[in-house]
Symmetry: C2
Subunit: 315 residues, 2 copies
């Protein structure tokens, strides 16, 4: 059986797969013009290169493993028609993203920028006054895999977590839940407001001037979801008027962030160039999801595969 990788993995990872699955013929680091597209039963891809032309040639294809969380660029309708199974690596970003968000929250609370700047001036000044996470409250917009991991870590610091989703239904690692409709009412209590929401018709423009105006003067706002959660000029006005106190932004309306954006120079803004999901362990984790699935597939237990995607719904 042929399993085709449309990207490169490390040699020791190739060796590991070959030794774990001696019955499989792995074809690594190929392009979509490779003849093996026609013979392969499984294709492993980052998801951007499997188009209609590839599908037409993939006569033996039964399963596409997408080594990314988003599926927007795949011809899902055609895949559904062809009855091809799809799995992805949902949740793979949760560790690097949650660790990075905690890094920014703690750095802000402990004023590490000030510590670094004082050191630049060789200045011994003990007047830096940090604040504590313990006993504070955090709102997490989008309490899914990533939001839940942030919630779990915040709870370890003694932070009370409030999840916010469309319906207000319970989510893991959230002490309380609110719906999108109840957000404005809950915001005045929050010390930290985090969004990891994807871009959908319901989240686009979800945060308005009124939402930012309802935040505490001491609140820290983080957006690690998508840049169209609000109009950027509304956020900028809110930050200029002092509610929220500061923002850490990993996503923007336009990326790369244009050189003339006022965000670059705002004292109370941290610009992170959409890097929070980066991790040296990405492929390793993708393989950790792929291998048990391949085992299940080979044993005829495809119903036991993890991270299955319904191609008709796209998630």
């Amino acid at each position: 059986m042929d399993v085709l990788f449309l990207f490169r993995i490390r040699e020791h990872q190739e060796d590991m797969l070959r030794s774990e699955f001696p019955e499989v013929n792995f074809l690594f680091d190929r392009k979509t013009d490779d003849p093996a597209v026609e013979t392969s039963e499984v294709i492993v891809t980052y998801g951007t290169d499997v188009d209609e032309n590839v599908l037409v040639r993939a006569k033996n294809l039964k399963w596409i493993m997408v080594a990314s969380a988003g599926m927007e660029q795949m011809p899902l309708g055609r895949i559904a028609e062809m009855g091809i199974r799809v799995t992805n690596v949902r949740g793979i970003h949760k560790t690097p993203m949650a660790e990075t968000m905690l890094a920014h929250i703690l750095s802000y609370r402990k004023k590490l920028k000030d510590v670094y700047e004082q050191q630049e001036r060789s200045e011994w000044n003990q007047k830096i006054r940090g604040t504590e996470l313990l006993g504070s409250k955090a709102m997490i917009l989008g309490p899914g895999a990533i939001g839940g991991e942030v919630g779990r870590l915040l709870q370890a610091f003694g932070v009370r977590t409030y999840g916010c989703n469309r319906s207000g239904r319970q989510a893991e690692y959230m002490d309380e839940m609110v719906s999108f409709g109840g957000l404005a009412e809950a915001l005045p209590e929050m010390d930290t407001v985090i969004s990891v929401l994807p871009s959908t018709s319901e989240t686009k423009g979800l945060l308005s001037r009124e939402h930012f105006g309802a935040m505490k003067e001491s609140a820290l706002f983080l957006n690690f979801g998508r840049g169209d959660l609000y109009e950027e000029k509304v956020l900028i006005e809110a930050l200029e008027s002092g509610r929220p106190a500061a923002a850490v932004l990993d996503v923007f309306e336009t990326e790369p962030l244009p050189a003339d954006s006022p965000l670059w120079n705002m004292e109370n803004v941290t610009v992170s160039p959409h890097i929070s999901s980066h991790s040296g362990k990405y492929v390793e984790r993708a393989l950790e999801i792929f291998m048990p699935n391949l085992r299940a597939y080979l044993e005829g237990q495809a119903d036991k595969m993890q991270n299955r995607v319904d191609p008709e719904r796209g998630y």
Copy 2:
């Protein structure tokens, strides 16, 4: 009964004490030359001002509440002779210190200094490569109240914790233990090495050139204990030679750190001006320890008081 405070607390805290203990005559924000020293049964102090002269005049004194963790400056022998009870606020620093250490560890791993510097240049550069805490190993020298709290938080991030104390006896929130003697052998595995050790005859100069040389090239070293854990020039040479990779220092041989110290200008060093234990909640926490103790004292149940100190041993 007179209870004398040798420091100032906030008005709402004074009100809270008066309303909780109407039977007590509180005297707030006094100096040691106050006549109330002679009448007070309880003195609440930061510990630096109660000397032999005060004790001679304190004819009614039965209990000293020291609102600090260290007792080095108190005439403990005389206090022991006089049979005066002593309590302190042991553990009060654990939250601000542990949160600050996590802030520095995460900021280093996620390269936040680079993020801040890129922003200074309005530079959108996604090449910043953070590393993860999950699956890494951390050595904690001094796994007491503060070290245990760091261990607890690191464990929440999926870090394996190794405690190191004199005997190697088990300590809370440590996955494994090593003794001071076994330290050099364990260091080559550690991604993070943290000291929160106090200064004692056994910890002075504990870390040698050999210990630093045994650390990983990628290791981060943090000292939030005392600056005499090593000769500072030995640490500087170790950092110049690349083991450990970097250091975050909150304590130094000489404080304030002299203006001509090379540490100020080292790229791989963060100088924190001995502020990690600072917290806006210090007095609030001290009162949280004091109030149940005062209740127990008034009810004649002094044996139920928390954080009692044996003045003969000093801890």
